[in-house]
């Protein structure tokens, strides 16, 4: 049985590597999230008319996440103008603070869409372990770039990637 397991694992890993070679990137999973108004919808239904999408996981208790989103917000107008990118900030706050997210976001004057993932269903399905965790999707909905953690100035790096994605360049080889 052990041999079967090892063999299968080897095959699986091999298959994965193959699969990655033949694909552009993975798609969003079929998972329900909520809007700040409490409406449930499937994350696969988001779209941006062929322009890039940026998805960032955050929570009220995560300081670096809020800094990252502040930085995105400061630049959002310029970014949209230049690339048409659309940002979704997915809050993984649980029942302790989900009801506080809407007034907080309004108080912050964040311009982008904020979604709720109160029991971490999307977080798990997208293998998000630590936050902040940011994904960039190309115009066809393929996940082409990911990054965890936030340092001052990371937004410039992220925007460089968004520009390349918007221009249809391959960013998978980028560090």
């Amino acid at each position: 049985m052990k041999k079967v397991l090892i063999l299968s694992l080897a095959l699986l890993i091999g298959g994965t590597i193959n699969a990655q070679e033949t694909q552009q990137g993975s798609k969003l999973p079929s998972v329900n999230v909520k809007t700040l108004e409490g409406e449930t919808f499937n994350i696969q239904d988001i779209s941006n008319n062929g322009k890039p999408i940026l998805i960032s996981f955050w929570a009220l208790w995560c300081k670096p996440c809020k800094k990252e989103l502040d930085a995105y917000n400061d630049n959002y107008e310029d970014w949209v103008e230049e690339t048409g990118v659309k940002i979704y900030a997915v809050s993984i706050d649980d029942a302790r603070s989900t009801a506080k997210v809407l007034p907080f976001v309004s108080g912050k004057s964040w311009e982008f869409d904020v979604l709720l993932d109160p029991n971490g269903d999307l977080k798990r399905a997208m293998s998000v372990n630590m936050i902040p965790h940011t994904f960039i999707l190309d115009g066809d909905g393929n996940i082409v770039y990911q990054h965890t953690s936030y340092y001052e100035g990371l937004e410039d790096e992220i925007f460089e990637i968004v520009k390349k994605v918007a221009a249809g360049e391959d960013v998978s080889g980028k560090h």
Partner: protein, 556 residues
Amino acid sequence: MKKIISIITLVLAISSSVYAQGFLGKSEVHGSFEIDAMYYQADDALGITDSLINGNVFGFNAFADIIYTLGDFSAGFRYEAYLPPIAGFDRNLEGQGFPYLWASYTTGKFSFTVGNFYEQFGNGFTLRTYQEWTLGYDNSIVGARVIYEPIKGLIFKGVYGTQRYYWAKYEKNGRGIVKGFDGEINFNDVFSSLSNSKVRLILGGSAVSKYQSDQLKSLKLPQNVASFAGRFNLGIGKFNFSSEYAYKINDPSAVNNYIYKSGDAFIFSGSYSTKGLGVFAQFKRIDNMSFKSDHSVTSNALDINFLPPLIEAHTYMLAAMYPYATQPNGEMGFQVELTYKVPKKSKIGGKYGMGISLNYSQMNDIAREKANDTAYIGQTGTMGWKSDFFKFGEQIFNRDLTIEIDKKFSKNFKSIFKYIYQDYDIATILGHTGDPNVKANIAIVDMTYKFSSTKSIRWELQGLWTKEDKGDWAAVLVEYTVSPHWFFSVADQYNYGNKHSYEQIHYYTGSFGYTMQTTRFALTYGRQREGVVCVGGVCRQVPASNGFSVTISSSF
């Protein structure tokens, strides 16, 4: 178990290799892993001696979580190892294996899951299963779940199974079996005439029951315990209201000292939101609402429901010193919060604007009276107590006032100023029996200076002043980051006001880390106090210790 894993893996392997050749090109594998390793040192000042460590100088927690997707089918597993668990984690976790194995199939209106799964009904008053790696917490249900969405705006869920209890297998007459049902309707989605209405209404309800055979000789326990909840979410323009009420029939357990009282929980939240301003208020009451699938368990395990602690959650080092935990046997309180952004180019706001937030929260005990003349309050085998729903108990568990101002002074320089007042029932919450409430004033300044587009330095100055517990503290942190890869930081928390001079300890740490996209490596050396620590761009919960710790994590 091994057989199952092998079979699953074999199926995955075959299908993934077949499809990888490009027949369908829809198969995907992704996942994440993390290794947290500790090397402990003796530290006399912290009371950690060689004999206490007793050769156990290493702690090792690791997991790998793999998800495989093929069109509408997905499956996955998580491998966990605690060899032995890092200090602060439950010793029952020691071991390794695959505690999380699942497969699910989604087709149009139906979604089926077998194996382990996580689910939440409403706020979680009747049911919530989740996993929190940093706490070593996992109460997943092993069984089956069906989700049915006949039309947009209507969702039904049914769950059936038993819960994870560390590594222990389910045995006959052991822990209980959990059954649950939840339904939710969104009127604006279901009735097209309401789709553009300014009034948005969602109603939901759930019922959960557990069956555990009565093996107790001294008392006769109910073998089936049911709980019910109803909830709504109502939005009217810029106002939003939500509420949930849950009721549980009598459920004598080790947590409530085996009383036969029924339990209930209530929460009401209201908010007003407009660009630049958010106002939030919340009321909460819990009375005898612990709900576990084994009546004898008191530790953080086998919880069927979730009772959120509604006190401001702090993450700065000293502010996180006295964290609140929900009191499942009874608490009531409220919270108000205001978030305001002073506009850009105004007199106070300056060029970049300024953020102000204010939070006040208070949690008291509930008011209890004798259930009858012959029994004392909470006596085993009785009705426990009577309680007036609207009456606050006299005992204050926690009060917290937090004022925060964040301001950007120039393109390169920004600051956060924070003042916190805390009143904390250390006797009830941390079990320091007989100690008076801790009343603490906390001040924090957090400054960031950007040298260039990628390099910046951040420093925190913190003070905590109290006459109780360990007395006064001061803390400093300096962090240097080079985006997008590097961080270096040093910090010290100094308990200079401790009554005992030998306990006036410096908790110093030094750390650095490297991030490459989603792969992260961090090394820390020093003493760590228990609490949430956020360094180098991420937050995690860390237990008290002295030594080296290494974290490697990645996701793909």
